[in-house]
């Protein structure tokens, strides 16, 4: 198991980049971002040592760990990796023995839902290494918490090496941010007691990958809250967090699949279902009327896209709902939809709104058995289930009266052909100047992906192109306003102004002048359709009798995180 991380890191060794984080210096220069020429050689195969060799390396290196660990300047060649490996090995032994004897780990192992096939994946297999994007989460003590592919146990030594890298760089007051090789980018993110690592062979930028790791972190926070995670690790440094996250792997898996397939995450904006403004307004009014005390958000979702969102008045003044929080909510709904007839009541934290307290989410489908229209009501009161369920009955009644469900059923995403611009194949448009209220939720609009982007591979390819354009536009070292990029099978144009961010995809033979004209037409079309494409004036209601008792500042809500019972179990 160990040789695998050994040669994996061997590949990455020459490009190890350490960046001083303390004073905000970004030593970007060392990074060669031009990855356009992807080499086809496979270093894994040639670098794979026989098992005998591995044992030798290990025993040799363990003996001189002491010297190596103190010698920080040693950064060159194989010795560095060997040192890391030895260090990890030692750590693993230390932890492993303790872990095995503890009942916590046993419980964790037994509880592992093993029916998820990719959890059983052979982590020594070549296919495991060939995944586009690996994501690992570990605790500061090096304990595995989550791996996207393969079981955490099987990967404990690999994670040990990662932790060793993190702590090795830390000893010289630096923070490891990334490691580059020809084929892979390894990005590290440290958040509180958690270390998140992404190993990607996509062309995504470090910044984008770190953003995705942030989503993973937020998803974990949304289930446990930041406060309880820090408290747990303060109590017990080597706590096995999987004990609390057991069963949530599917939620994290689902999030990572969404991150890979849905551009909402890249753009940091939500996608709402195009709907006639009058229908959207009437839905909002229905939500606005069905309220109970301590209700703070009412959200209506159809086909995994937002229909409308209504916020409590004092809450909206306090803060807006961040797109990332909406993404987490949508992912939760997607992951918990297996048994759709019931009404779900569950605590959830919205990390960007307040990372330390819980909301209580009521989730129910309005159109069983199809289950496409979902109502999500968020309350700050743990006991409010029956009151909130009553709101749902009112909403259901009003929607039946207005025949809303069949109207929603007709709503669908649009085709790019409706724009009426030839050569335009696809686009993503994110406005910054949403009218009326600058606190509005960031949104974007985008047509269906149609031929030639109907197959999964082609969709991924287009998204990869968009990610590339996005990384160029948002490059920290050389940000761009406009980029015209002639790719192999299409021509891309991305443009960012103070009012919007736009990514377009044209047929390959379009000229620059043509593309510019097309964009002018496209912008005019969006302007015309604005009311249908976006939630323009998000309505509000008032459910808190005393404005100072808004959920954000309320102490009693903070209490809830302590009340959730984990601490008693430590």
């Amino acid at each position: 198991m160990c040789y695998q991380c050994c040669d994996w890191f061997k590949q990455h060794r020459p490009h190890l980049v350490e960046k001083r984080d303390s004073n905000g210096l970004n030593m970007e220069g060392a990074v060669d971002s031009d990855t356009s020429s992807i080499t086809t050689e496979e270093p894994q195969t040639e670098a794979k040592p026989s098992s005998d060799q591995v044992t030798n390396t290990e025993t040799d290196s363990i003996s001189n760990t002491e010297d190596a660990a103190t010698d920080n300047s040693q950064s060159d060649s194989g010795e560095f990796v060997v040192t890391m490996l030895a260090k990890a090995k030692l750590e693993e032994q230390g932890l492993g023995v303790k872990g095995r004897s503890s009942p916590l780990l046993e419980a964790g192992t037994q509880d592992m839902p093993a029916y998820m096939s990719h959890r059983e994946e052979d982590v020594t297999a070549e296919s495991w290494r060939q995944h586009r994007k690996h994501v690992f989460v570990l605790s500061e003590a090096g304990k595995p918490i989550y791996s996207r592919y393969g079981s955490e146990e099987a990967l404990s030594s690999t994670m040990g090496v990662m932790m060793a890298l993190v702590s090795f760089v830390q000893t010289s007051d630096n923070i490891i941010r990334s490691v580059y090789s020809d084929e892979h980018t390894v990005v590290f993110l440290q958040k509180g007691p958690l270390v998140l690592v992404c190993v990607s062979c996509t062309r995504q930028s470090e910044q984008q990958l770190r953003g995705e790791l942030m989503y993973v972190y937020y998803q974990i926070i949304s289930m446990l809250t930041q406060a309880s995670i820090s408290r747990i690790f303060e109590h017990k440094k080597n706590y096995d967090l999987r004990r609390l996250l057991a069963g949530s792997e599917k939620i994290l898996d689902g999030l990572l699949n969404l991150v890979d397939s849905d551009p909402s995450f890249l753009l940091g904006a939500v996608h709402c279902l195009p709907l006639a403004a009058s229908l959207r307004d009437s839905l909002s009014q229905i939500l606005q009327k069905a309220i109970t005390s301590n209700l703070v958000f009412s959200i209506l979702i159809a086909k995994n896209q937002l229909l409308t969102i209504v916020q409590e008045k004092t809450v909206i003044e306090d803060a807006r709902l961040e797109p990332a929080d909406v993404h987490l909510l949508l992912n939760l709904i997607g992951a918990s939809s297996a048994f759709q007839a019931g009404e779900i009541w569950t605590p959830i934290c919205l990390p960007l709104f307040n990372p330390d307290c819980y909301f209580y989410a009521y989730i129910s489908y309005l159109d069983p058995p199809e289950c496409t229209v979902c109502l999500l009501l968020l309350s700050t009161d743990k006991e409010a289930f029956y009151a909130v369920a009553e709101c749902k009955r009112k909403i259901e009644e009003a929607m039946t009266a207005q025949n809303s469900l069949s109207l929603i059923d007709k709503a669908q995403s649009y085709s790019v052909s409706q724009v009426g611009v030839s050569d335009l194949r696809h686009f993503m448009y994110k406005p910054f100047d949403v009218p009326d209220n600058y606190r509005q939720l960031s949104q974007f609009t985008s047509p269906e992906m149609e031929a030639p982007y109907s197959s999964e591979e082609e969709k991924t390819r287009l998204l990869d192109l968009y990610r590339y354009m996005h990384s160029r536009i948002h490059s920290t070292s050389r940000p761009l306003k406009l980029i015209y990029h002639v790719a192999e099978k299409e021509t891309m144009l991305a443009w960012v102004t103070s009012k919007f961010e736009l990514y377009t995809c044209f047929s390959p033979l379009v000229t620059k002048a043509c593309a510019i004209t097309a964009i002018t037409k496209l912008l005019r079309w969006i302007k015309k359709e604005e009311d249908r494409l976006f939630i323009r004036y998000p309505p509000k209601y008032s459910t808190t009798p005393n404005p100072s008792k808004s959920s954000r500042s309320s102490k009693s809500d903070q209490q809830d995180s302590t009340d959730n019972g984990f601490l008693s179990l430590l």
């Binding site: 046993e106 419980a107 192992t109 037994q110 509880d111 839902p113 093993a114 029916y115 289930m223 446990l224 004990r243 609390l244 996250l245 057991a246 069963g247 949530s248 599917k250 939620i251 939760l332 992951a335 918990s336 297996a338 048994f339 007839a341 019931g342 009404e343 779900i344 009541w345 569950t346 605590p347 989410a361 309005l366 069983p368 743990k382 006991e383 289930f385 369920a389 009955r393 259901e396 009644e397 039946t400 809830d560 009340d563 959730n564 019972g565 984990f566 179990l569």
Partner: protein, 257 residues
Amino acid sequence: MPEVSKLKKPDVKLVLLGDMNVGKTSLLHRYTERKFKDTVSTVGGAFFLKQWGPYNISIWDTAGREQFHGLGSMYCRGAAAIILTYDVTNWQSLVELEERFLSLTDTANHDCIYAVVGNKADLTDLTAQLPQTSDLGDQTKSEESQVLSACPTPPASPVSISGVLLRKQVTHDDAVALYGRILRYKCLDEKSTLPAEKMCFETSAKTGYNVDSLFETLFDLLLPSILRKRNENQESPTVDLEDCRTSGGKRGKASCC
């Protein structure tokens, strides 16, 4: 569908408790939908309203994960029946019932009835591999689900390949003993309460073995509290318009789902 479910007032509350992966959602799903399918880990708790003849029984299917432990007492508040579920192939799941879940029942009614249910019996007993009820048509599916349901068992036990039985880690006697301890915890007299033989079940959500009998037994036992509650409501001056409508429906045994 929405018209039917709205305005219905639950008569009694039943709660499913137990460690994750013991099959609480599957049990309920087998009973209400007559099917066994791959479920995902429940988040928080899911509320169902089950129409049983003229009565409405609310059922809380709770998450077994520790993450949601804090909500347990809220789900159990005022419960008239609690099903404590374990996995017959996993000793720890029985232990968890006593350590983690029993204290949650403190908020339940004082006359709450308890059932101890060992699920996944099909993995250890040949008899449980045959459904008890006659109306199960998805035997064809069992081939693929065999693999699915066999996996969430502790890695220590032998893996079941179609037909091979797993070692039973929890016997019926263990469950009966636990039932006795529950009564003692509740300070209930063993003689005046329901006997353990009646309240300890072994079921299989996969084959349907004993599932109907579990729920129907409980509902029958709940009938007195349902009637008492309805009487209390009738004594109150409020007129429940809903009553006239539902009383028309005949008690067709479980045919309404």
